[in-house]
Symmetry: C2
Subunit: 366 residues, 2 copies
């Protein structure tokens, strides 16, 4: 097995403060991962991501397979070195693309056939080859291939899909155990919004003894209430001594509620994607800097922040950058949001440490 | 007059090493200015521009008038504060746009009527109001309104145009002298590629006793030889104790030859515009990172450089960023080029200091 370790340092109710140790470095949890799907946090120099304090980024096996391709990544120390990051990386397998690129793929028992959205070429992903690919990518935390099913979907279809993901999980773990693979391997719990299906998925997946467990198939349109309902009964059933990862989540509120229920790590496009569209997170809400009322607002983006972007640049200047369509605007707002998310995770960790997560939640919602 | 001073510190032939002093800070010459037309060095955080060592940027009065507009700039300490730069800024008046936006403008004795390329609104620039505008912009070095004529053009038309620029220069200087204006004012020598017209322009313009002098109307298609020919007879006729500015120039070779002939400051879109298109300057030439031969070239962009972008990122990674069309690629290559240009200016200054500019030129062309 890979040099990978996780320990819970402190608990506050279900919430955990912990530490992940990998060959490339440690990750304090609860943690949020900036998304670098294709080996770049969109628009944003990786030096700034490091400067904020991030210790883990997320890339995507399917996308990296298409570009830059595995040949290039095999000549360096994987995607982490290629993108100038040199810290731990988690890679999704392509399971999410099974859903998001549903018109371009065909699922069979064996795996998923994708037609590249770039050049139309065929790619066949199997539970086994995505492990080999992630081994070449040198991903520190590798996700198994699963089927991320859409929402809403019938009980019968969710059940069938969850069972397929289970059979793939078994093949994944067998292939992983038989080969010397670079990183740790995480299983993924599926089952939609159906509690009994989630429970089957948990008990079966946990049997394969992965290094960590993800809650998949959420943040696909079910909304905050249903999402937290699933997390509420899923997270506590996962092994106490393993990392818990809520995939694709979320808004600050989603993250706070999931941490409260015992989730450790998160990834989401929100801080960067919304940042590129001019939306900046401040306090417990957000503002849209494209709004004309900010044209003449010369106050700093966030007076309460000591992050250089947030305290230096005025809303008026950022509004101007968005108007002239210079990517510098989206970049600066992405950075502001990523700093906001980082601080949120630090604050959650501190609150757990001090046994006052309840108070933090209350204060946040005030 | 503004707190503005220039002194020549060392000469090597016609070439000069000098120092410009302004209220916002000093500028070592020879110097190159990164272009921030609309108050942003395209795609590029200003913190990186400062980190490279730049002391002066260029913005454009006409563009700033349209966006963000003068009202916003009047509420802060001008464009320099608005863009988070807080160092000296030079502004072009709009004279170049007289040429580049020729379909959208009408010239009269009084001034230039522009139809905004953004919303079609009319703007009338006069020699007087561009000074008032630059005063609001709080430009440390302000250019007079002139007519930058296209190339090629008949002797008669160049003569008429140069004479109009002279009448505008007189009005500019009168308006400047009668009002308390924030920055220094530079006159602009015109006359195309005709030596006698350049000589008339020089002797008349110098009579108005500007704080500095620009050589305008070059880098408009006349080519390196003709450009340097004009610089060769123009620069030495300009006052020894005043800054000399070659507008819109140029390639490294153009800059070296102009410094050799006594020019002090430069601006050009080349490092950033070409950077955005994947062209990186290395040694005495450039490479196009879009070229497929760089796909698998995992060597650093410039092994000889100690700039973080140039030594850290591989040609392969930059090729990948260009391929996935992430603005991070253009940004990193722009920064590499701006660092290259900055070092070129430093090397030219050092060579002048050490009396070996001749040797530097020879080495560069080898």
């Amino acid at each position: 097995m890979a040099e990978f370790n996780f320990k819970v340092i402190k608990k506050d109710g279900y919430a955990r403060k912990g530490l992940i140790e990998t060959k490339r470095g440690n990750i304090k949890t609860p943690a949020f991962m900036p998304i670098a799907t294709q080996g770049a946090v969109k628009f944003t120099p990786i030096e700034f991501i490091e400067q904020i304090g991030y210790e883990l980024t997320l890339s995507n096996t399917y996308h990296l397979l298409l570009r830059p391709g595995l040949e290039r990544l095999s000549s360096v120390d994987g995607i982490s070195e290629f993108m100038g990051w040199n810290k731990p990386v988690l890679t999704d397998s392509g399971g999410f693309q099974v859903m998001s690129l549903s018109k371009l793929r065909k699922i069979s028992e064996e795996g998923v056939k994708f037609q590249s959205h770039i050049d139309g070429a065929s790619h066949f992903l199997t539970p086994e080859n995505v492990i080999d690919y992630q081994n070449i990518i040198k991903s520190d935390i590798q996700m198994v291939l699963d089927e991320c099913i859409q929402y809403p979907e019938t009980y019968e279809n969710v059940k069938k899909s969850m069972e397929l993901s289970l059979r793939w999980a078994e093949r994944s773990r067998n292939h992983y155990n038989k080969n010397k693979i670079y990183g740790a391997q995480f299983g993924i719990i599926q089952g939609g919004v159906f509690e009994d299906l989630r429970e089957i998925s948990i008990s079966e997946t946990v049997n394969f003894d992965f290094e960590g467990y993800a809650i998949g198939g959420l943040a696909v349109g079910e909304g905050h209430e249903k999402m937290i309902e699933v997390v509420d009964y899923t997270a506590p059933q996962l092994p106490e001594d393993k990392v818990r990862y809520l995939m694709g989540v979320g808004k600050p509120k989603d993250i706070i509620e999931a941490v409260y229920r015992g989730v450790d790590i998160f990834d989401c496009v929100i801080p960067t994607r919304e940042g590129r569209h001019g939306i900046a997170y401040i306090g417990s809400s957000s503002i849209n800097l494209k709004n004309s009322k900010f044209e003449s607002d010369l106050t700093p983006l966030d007076e309460g922040s000591d992050y250089f972007v947030s305290k230096k640049y005025s809303k008026s200047y950022l509004n101007h950058l968005l108007k002239i369509k210079d990517p510098l605007g989206p970049m600066l707002i992405s950075l502001h949001n990523l700093n906001y998310y980082f601080n949120l995770m630090v604050d959650l960790g501190t609150s757990i440490d001090e046994g006052r997560l309840d108070i933090f939640r209350e204060d946040f919602y005030k």
